[in-house]
Amino acid sequence: MIGSIIDWLTSSASWSGADGILARLLEHIGYTLLVLVIAAVIAIPLGLWIGHTGRGRWLVTAANALRAVPTLGLLFALTLVLLPVLPGDTAFLVPSVIVLVLLAIPAILSGTYAGVEAVDPAARDAARGIGMTGVQVLVKVELPIALPLLISGLRAAVLQVVATATVAAYVGLGGLGRFLIDGLATQDYASTAGGALLVAVLALALDAPFALLERLVVSPGLTGRTRPLRPSEPNRTAPAGGST
């Protein structure tokens, strides 16, 4: 069994061609990035706004409730509804993307919101108190301090989307899901297992750039990744002849 998976993964025939591993891998990465960009463009500004204003917290709760909706069921329902109204391949692509975006939004939204929410009220107050405008408070204080949790949200979303993008294959689209579904249908278990393995490896590989991003953009003052310095109060003594 393991031998046949390795054979499948290493044979040049399975990598090449329009339905080869390389093409499917690129399709999978393509779906994932498309979905992430759309989800981030929606969820990050929304999360920042909710955290900054304190208004619309119910949206975060509502988004989290969305996670309970079964992905496959929603995909089929959306496809049935949209099939008659959308032209050609987009009739399959759009429902898949919507489903995955809905899956990615809760993690990014909660992360962003929680990040802003976690800003020390004293720091926010000081920012206003020294004369920052609302936008400046958001951009110069709340956003940078929210980054660690925001990026955690993104990373969680990446994992979920990479794993779940396999469902696109159910409605006839590409991606690594093809190997799983087609493999099951043709009882080619080597390609099913190999496909699953590739999904897992891809999830890890796509996580790495985010880990790097986190190291680059998050201030060391927030992570404690500072040079080991021991805070010490300079020694000061009362002036000579001082009393009481």
């Binding site: 020390d120 004293a122 720091a123 107050d125 000081a126 920012a127 206003r128 108190g129 020294i130 004369g131 920052m132 405008t133 400046q136 204080v141 940078p144 301090i145 201030s219 060391p220 003052g221 927030l222 404690g224 500072t226 310095l229 805070p231 010490s232 109060e233 300079p234 000061r236 009362a238 000579a240 002849g241 001082g242 009393s243 009481t244």
Partner: protein, 377 residues
């Protein structure tokens, strides 16, 4: 000059935090708002820089109505030290201090250079500028908060319990440095505290607030101690009022020559110079008092070294407040209070009874009927 005129703040939930309050904070002076927790001090302070909008009344700075100004613009021109430090955790210390100049468009390099100078001014090593706030002690963070408020050299400073989050020893130290700094800079300061001792120590004028945001009394510290307006103020001032009031009254007291021995003298030399009570004052070669010794308690062959000195006994300056002079006498093991001159050298000793005689002949502190309308000292 900061002026609050008939200012009232009612929060949306109905709480009246400040009720028809009028107050003038004169230029180049420290005006302290003091009162129990929840009496409206913070609310009053924050109405000056429009962090809170008054429900009614007017607030002016140098005659300009703050409500007519752009809030962010206004705040950039006012130094603000907030209650819990409020440093930006993601910025280095020097970047924190440079925050206002950067907002005002000062080039970064210049703002950071200035920030390092300010760190030095508030008693911090400029090398700490590269650290992050989480790497500083509480006392250091408070200093950085003050440096940040000073960075754009605003004429007006608002300080909300700036020294509250540190232990008493560090607090004393910060207060002393703050007074020294104010002596140099002469800002117009409104400060909030719940600590009456801090108010009396730091304030040129002290406004005692009572719950509901009303001023129970506005007076100079000495007047407050001598003539509390009512029972609330008297209770709030607490014990030892008469004694604490002496802290604001300076007078010369009779000084007596005191026989001394130098550090390192032999015990027999010291015994020969000791007074009838057996105590002798030990000085160093510059005649700076080092402590008292009782030769009779020491081994006859030895010499007077630091271990032989009795601890205790505070020092008073020749023209210092009577409180310190009296305390010097009361705390001295020999009951003779050590008085030093401006250079720290021995001037003589005083006796408690004579200090009390001086106190008795002093004029009573000024009449309560004379409120502070006159400018600050």
């Amino acid at each position: 000059m900061i002026r609050l005129d008939g200012v009232t703040k009612q929060y949306p939930d109905g709480t009246v935090a400040v009720d028809d309050l009028s107050l003038t904070a004169p230029d180049r002076a420290i005006t302290v708002l003091v009162g129990p927790s929840g009496c409206g001090k913070t609310t009053t302070l924050r109405m000056i820089n429009r962090m809170i909008e008054p429900t009614s009344g007017s607030v002016t700075i140098d005659g300009q109505d703050v409500l007519a100004m752009d809030a962010a613009q206004l705040r950039r021109g006012i130094g603000y030290v907030i209650q819990h430090g409020g440093l930006f955790p993601h910025h280095t210390v020097e970047r924190n201090v440079a925050a206002v100049p950067l907002l005002l468009g000062t080039p970064k390099k210049q703002a950071i250079t200035r920030a390092r100078e300010l760190l030095e001014l508030v008693g911090l090593d400029p090398a700490l500028g590269r650290r992050y706030p989480s790497q500083l002690s509480g006392g250091q963070q408070q200093r950085v908060g003050v440096a940040r408020a000073l960075a754009a050299d605003p004429p007006v400073m608002l300080m909300d319990e700036p020294f509250s989050a540190v232990d008493p020893v560090v607090r004393e130290q910060l207060q002393d440095e703050f007074l020294r700094l104010q002596g140099e800079l002469g800002k117009t300061i409104v400060m909030v505290t719940h600590d009456i001792d801090e108010a009396i120590k730091l304030g040129d004028h002290v406004a005692v607030l009572q719950v509901g945001g009303r001023i129970a009394q506005l007076a100079r510290p000495a007047e407050l101690l001598a003539h509390p307006a009512d029972n609330f103020v008297a209770d709030f001032l607490g014990r030892d009022r008469g004694y604490r009031a002496l802290g604001f009254d300076s007078a010369r007291v009779p000084l007596h020559d005191e026989p001394t021995v130098s550090l390192g003298a032999t015990v027999s030399e010291a015994a020969a110079r000791a007074g009838s009570d057996g105590w002798v004052l030990v000085v160093d070669d510059r005649r700076h008092p080092q402590g008292w010794a009782r030769p009779a308690d020491l081994p006859g062959e030895g010499s007077i070294d630091e271990r032989a000195l009795a601890l205790g006994g505070t020092l008073a300056r020749v023209d210092g407040p009577l409180r310190l002079v009296l305390d010097a006498a009361l705390s001295s093991p020999s009951r003779r209070g050590v008085v030093i001159d401006g250079d720290g050298a021995l001037a003589g000793t005083c006796r408690a009874t004579e200090v009390l005689s001086v106190i008795e002949t002093r004029e009573r502190p000024s009449d309560p009927g004379d409120p502070i309308s006159h400018p600050a000292s």
